[in-house]
C-alpha cells in the first residue's frame, strides 16, 4: 500500500515536472508513434527531435507498440499534456479518426506523418508513393527502353504493392501499347520475402528461357532475390533491376552494377520537413503559408486535405554520394567490392 502511494506521488511529481518544462521552453511538439519495431522510425524520430530542439521547443512522444487501442490511449495522454501540435503515425488509419477529432476538439493541430488518415483538418506529410513506382519505371526505361519486362510485385495483401505497380504502368503504358516492351512475367510475392522473389524470378527465367531484359522489383529485399536468380544464370549486371528503400545492401549492389536503382525515401528529410511544419503551425502560421503544401485527395475515401508530398531520391551509380553524405550509409559499406574507378562516389 505504501509502495503504491509512493508510486502515485512519483507519477504526479513527474507530470508536474513535465508541464513545467513545457511552459518554460516555449512550444511543445508531440508525436504518437505506431511502433519502433521497424528500424526506420528511429531515424525519423532523431530528425524530428533534432529540429524541434534546435528551435528551442520541446519534444514529447509515445510508442503505441503496434496496437490501435494503445495508440488511442496514448493520444488521450498527449492531449492532457497540452502540446501545440501532435504528429501521428497511425497504426490503423480508420481506427485513429476519433482520436484525431479529439485532438481538434482540444484546439490542438494534428499532422498525419507518413501514414494517411482522412481528416480534413490535418496536414498530411509523406513521400509520393505512387511516384516511387513512376521513378522506378523511368529509371529502367532510360537504360532498357524496349524488350521483355518482368514485374516482381510485393505482397498481394498490401495496397502499396498495387500503388507501386500503378505508378510503373503510368510511365510504361505507351511503350507497352506500342509493343516496344512486353510484360512476360508478373507475380505477387508472399510477404515481400526475398526467397520467394528468388523462386519467382527463377521460374520466370525458366519459362522464358532467360529472355528477360529488365526486372521491376518493388523493393530492395526482393531485388536481392532477383539478383541472386539472375546471377545463377550469368545475367546479373546485364539485366537492369529496380528496388526501393535504400537498403545498405541494395546501395552496394547499385555500386557493383547488379542493381540499377534503389528509390530512397530519406526519413531524415521527411522528419525535418514535418518538424518544421509542426513548428510553423505551433507558432500560429497558416497551413497554406508552409512551403510545399498542396491539396491532396488521393486517399481511400477521396477526402481533400492539405499535404506535403516529398519526392523520393532515386539512387543510381551516379549519385551514391547523396546517401553517403546524408549519413545513411558509409562509403566502405556502399563501395565494398567495387572496382576502382567504376563508380564516381567510390573513387
Amino acid at each position: 500500500m505504501k509502495k503504491f502511494a509512493t508510486a502515485i506521488l512519483a507519477g504526479v511529481a513527474m507530470t508536474m515536472a513535465l508541464s513545467t518544462v513545457a511552459e518554460a521552453a516555449g512550444k511543445t511538439i508531440a508525436v504518437s508513434w505506431k511502433t519502433f519495431q521497424e528500424e526506420r522510425w528511429k531515424t525519423d524520430e532523431a530528425a524530428i527531435k533534432a529540429a524541434v530542439e534546435a528551435a528551442g521547443d520541446s519534444y514529447i512522444s509515445t510508442d503505441a507498440q503496434g496496437s490501435a487501442q494503445k495508440q488511442a490511449a496514448d493520444i488521450e495522454g498527449l492531449i492532457s499534456q497540452r502540446p501545440d501540435v501532435i504528429l501521428v503515425v497511425a497504426f490503423d488509419s480508420d481506427a485513429i479518426l476519433p482520436s484525431i477529432k479529439a485532438i481538434s476538439d482540444a484546439g490542438i493541430k494534428s499532422i498525419a506523418y507518413d501514414v494517411q488518415f482522412e481528416d480534413p483538418n490535418a496536414l498530411y506529410i509523406t513521400f509520393d508513393n505512387i511516384g516511387v513506382g513512376r521513378i522506378m519505371a523511368e529509371e529502367i526505361l532510360k537504360v532498357q527502353p524496349e524488350g521483355n519486362y518482368a514485374f516482381i510485385k510485393g505482397d498481394k495483401g498490401d495496397p502499396n504493392a498495387t500503388f507501386l505497380f500503378q505508378g510503373m504502368m503510368e510511365v510504361l503504358k505507351p511503350s507497352l501499347d506500342s509493343g516496344k516492351i512486353k510484360n512476360v512475367c508478373e507475380t505477387f510475392t508472399d510477404g515481400w520475402k526475398p526467397d520467394n522473389a528468388q523462386r519467382n524470378m527463377e521460374q520466370c527465367l525458366t519459362s522464358t528461357d532467360n529472355k528477360v531484359d529488365a526486372v521491376l522489383s518493388e523493393n530492395d529485399g526482393m531485388a536481392s532475390g532477383v539478383v541472386a536468380a539472375l546471377e545463377a544464370q550469368g545475367l546479373a549486371g546485364t539485366v537492369p533491376v529496380t528496388g526501393q528503400d535504400g537498403d545498405k545492401a541494395a546501395i552496394n549492389r547499385v555500386a557493383l552494377g547488379t542493381q540499377t536503382v534503389s528509390v530512397w525515401k530519406n526519413s531524415t528529410d521527411l522528419g525535418k520537413v514535418a518538424a518544421e511544419a509542426a513548428i510553423a503551425l505551433a507558432n500560429g502560421d497558416d497551413v497554406s503559408s508552409i512551403k510545399g503544401v498542396a491539396k491532396f485527395s488521393g486517399g481511400k475515401n477521396g477526402v481533400e486535405m492539405d499535404s506535403i508530398l516529398l519526392a523520393p531520391t532515386p539512387i543510381t551509380k551516379d549519385n551514391i554520394d547523396v546517401a553517403i553524405e546524408a549519413g545513411h550509409i558509409t562509403k566502405e559499406e556502399a563501395c565494398a567490392g567495387v572496382k576502382a574507378g567504376s563508380v564516381p562516389a567510390c573513387g
Partner: protein, 466 residues
C-alpha cells in the same frame, strides 16, 4: 495357438501378379503411390505450361526440362534438410514450430559474423571467414535446438508452447541482431554452398562418379541384407526380387544423374568462364537457340556445336542428399533412431526399458537445430543475403512436407525418404505454379488443399492396410 499367428505365409500363389510382386520385393506401397502422384503432377505441369508457351520438356512444356528439374532440386534443398529432422521430432510426439524463425536468426547471425565482424577484421574473402560462419551457424542452431529440447523435457513445457514462443521470439532476435536490414553479400566461398555459382556444380565427370558409387552402395546394401538373413537362416526374398530392387534403386540414381548432367551452364557463364580462364572458343555457326558458344567472325555467339559445360549435382542438393542418407541411417540403423521410434510408440515403455527419454528429447531437438543451421547456410548462401524475413513461415512447409510424406502427428510413424518426397512434392507444386505465372493467392489455395487431401488419402490407405 491363436488363429492369426498361423495365417501369415508371405504370398499365396493365387494372388494377382502385382501383389505377389509387391510382397516379394517388400516395396513400401505408400511410397510407390507418392512417386506416382509426384510424376502425375510433374506431367500435368509440363503439359499445361507447354500449352501456354511451348518448350523442350517431355510433353512440350517447361517443367520436365533438365533446367527446371535441376532448379527444383536446388529450391527444395533447404526445406528438405529441415524436414528430415522434423520427422524425428514428430515421431517422438513433439513438434517444432520455431524452425522458420530459428532459420532467420541463425542465417542473420552467420551473416553478421561474416559481413560485419570478420570481413572488416581479417579482410573480405579470407578463407577463415566461411569456415567460421558455417561453424557458427551449426553451433548456434544446435544450441537453440537443445534449449528448445531442454525446456520441453526438463521444464516440462509442451513442445508446442516452447516452440510457439520460439517462433515469435527468435524472429525478434533476428531483427534486433541486424537492426532489420538485409545483410549482403555473403563470402565468395560460403556462397558456393547455395548452388548459384559454377563453383558449386559438380560437373558431369564427378556427378557420374558419384552416381556409380551410389549404385555400388545400393547393390552392396542389398547383398549385405541377404547375407545377414542367410547367416541366421531366415526366409529370404527370391533372387529376382533382390535384383529388381537393386535395379530400381540404381536406375533412379542414374536417371537423376542423367537429367542433371544434361543441363548446360547458362550461356553468359560459359562466356565468362572462357574469358577468365583463357579457354579457346571453337569456330562455329550462329544459332540463337543453342546452348554452347562459338566464335563467328570474331564475335562470341550462341551455337549448337561449340564450347559447352554441364552442371551436374549442385552443392545444396548434395548436402540435402547427404543429410537424407545420414538421417535415414540414424533413424533405422542406430540405437538413437530406435529409441526415437520406441519413445514415439510408447513413452512410458521406453522409460521403463531404461531409456533416458528426457535426454533423448534434448538430443532430438538439438539435432533439429543442427539441421536448421545447415538449412540456414543453404538459404542465405543461395540468396547471397540474409534478412529477418528469410525462412519465415518455413515451419509450415517443413511440417507439411513431413506429414505429406507419411509422418503421423500422433507419433511413432514416419520415414525420412517419405518426408523428402513430401518436400519435393510441396516444392514442385509451388514452383510449377510460379512457372505457370499463377497468382500467389491461388498457389496458397492449392498447396493447402494438397496438404489436407494427402493426409486424407493417407488415412484411407492406412485403414485399408489394417
Amino acid at each position: 495357438m491363436s488363429k492369426e499367428s498361423a495365417s501369415t505365409p508371405a504370398a499365396a500363389p493365387t494372388k494377382p501378379l502385382l501383389s505377389r510382386f509387391l510382397a516379394a520385393t517388400e516395396i513400401d506401397t505408400r511410397m510407390l503411390g507418392m512417386v506416382a502422384a509426384l510424376f502425375a503432377i510433374w506431367c500435368a505441369f509440363d503439359i499445361y505450361s507447354g500449352f501456354l508457351r511451348p518448350n523442350t520438356g517431355l510433353f512440350g512444356g517447361a517443367f520436365l526440362t533438365p533446367r527446371n528439374l535441376w532448379t527444383l532440386l536446388v529450391q527444395t534443398s533447404s526445406i528438405a534438410v529441415m524436414t528430415t529432422g522434423m520427422v524425428l521430432v514428430i515421431v517422438m510426439r513433439h513438434i517444432d514450430l520455431s524452425v522458420g524463425s530459428m532459420l532467420s536468426l541463425v542465417a542473420v547471425a552467420g551473416a553478421v559474423l561474416q559481413v560485419f565482424i570478420l570481413g572488416p577484421a581479417i579482410g573480405v574473402g579470407h578463407p577463415a571467414i566461411w569456415i567460421a560462419a558455417v561453424a557458427a551457424c551449426l553451433v548456434l542452431g544446435t544450441l537453440i535446438g537443445a534449449m528448445n529440447g531442454f525446456l520441453t523435457a526438463y521444464a516440462q513445457i509442451p513442445a508446442f508452447i516452447v516452440t510457439l514462443g520460439g517462433l515469435i521470439a527468435y524472429s525478434g532476435v533476428a531483427f534486433l541482431l541486424a537492426s532489420g536490414v538485409t545483410i549482403a553479400p555473403m563470402d565468395k566461398t560460403y556462397k558456393i554452398i547455395g548452388g548459384g555459382v559454377p563453383e558449386s556444380w559438380l560437373g558431369p565427370t564427378w556427378s557420374w562418379a558419384l552416381a556409380f558409387v551410389a549404385c555400388a552402395l545400393i547393390i552392396l546394401a542389398v547383398a549385405n541384407g541377404r547375407r545377414q538373413r542367410k547367416r541366421f537362416g531366415f526366409q529370404m526374398r527370391p533372387v529376382w526380387a533382390e535384383a529388381v530392387l537393386a535395379t530400381i534403386g540404381s536406375a533412379a540414381v542414374l536417371g537423376t544423374t542423367a537429367v542433371l548432367t544434361s543441363y548446360p551452364w547458362p550461356f553468359g557463364l560459359i562466356r565468362q568462364y572462357a574469358a577468365d580462364n583463357d579457354v579457346t572458343i571453337p569456330e562455329g555457326v550462329e544459332n540463337v537457340n543453342g546452348d554452347a558458344i562459338c566464335m563467328a567472325a570474331d564475335r562470341i555467339v550462341r551455337c549448337t556445336e561449340g564450347l559447352i559445360y554441364y552442371t551436374g549435382y549442385a552443392a545444396p542438393v548434395l548436402v540435402a542428399l547427404a543429410v537424407g542418407a545420414a538421417m535415414s541411417f540414424i533413424a533405422t540403423r542406430t540405437k538413437f533412431g530406435r529409441y526415437v521410434y520406441a519413445i514415439g510408440g510408447n513413452p512410458e515403455a521406453a522409460e521403463l526399458a531404461g531409456i533416458n527419454t528426457k535426454m533423448m528429447t534434448v538430443k532430438v531437438f538439438a539435432l533439429m537445430g543442427f539441421l536448421v543451421g545447415v538449412s540456414s547456410i543453404i538459404a542465405s548462401a543461395r540468396l547471397d543475403a540474409a534478412t529477418n524475413a528469410l525462412g519465415q513461415l518455413n515451419e509450415l512447409f517443413v511440417i507439411a512436407s513431413a506429414v505429406i510424406g507419411g509422418t503421423s502427428l500422433a507419433g511413432g510413424i514416419g520415414t525420412i525418404y517419405g518426408a523428402l518426397l513430401g518436400a519435393l512434392m510441396m516444392q514442385s507444386i509451388q514452383s510449377g505454379m510460379a512457372l505457370l505465372n499463377l497468382p500467389a493467392a491461388f498457389q496458397n489455395i492449392v498447396v493447402g488443399t494438397v496438404l489436407v487431401f494427402a493426409v486424407f488419402v493417407d488415412q484411407l490407405y492406412r485403414r485399408r492396410v489394417k
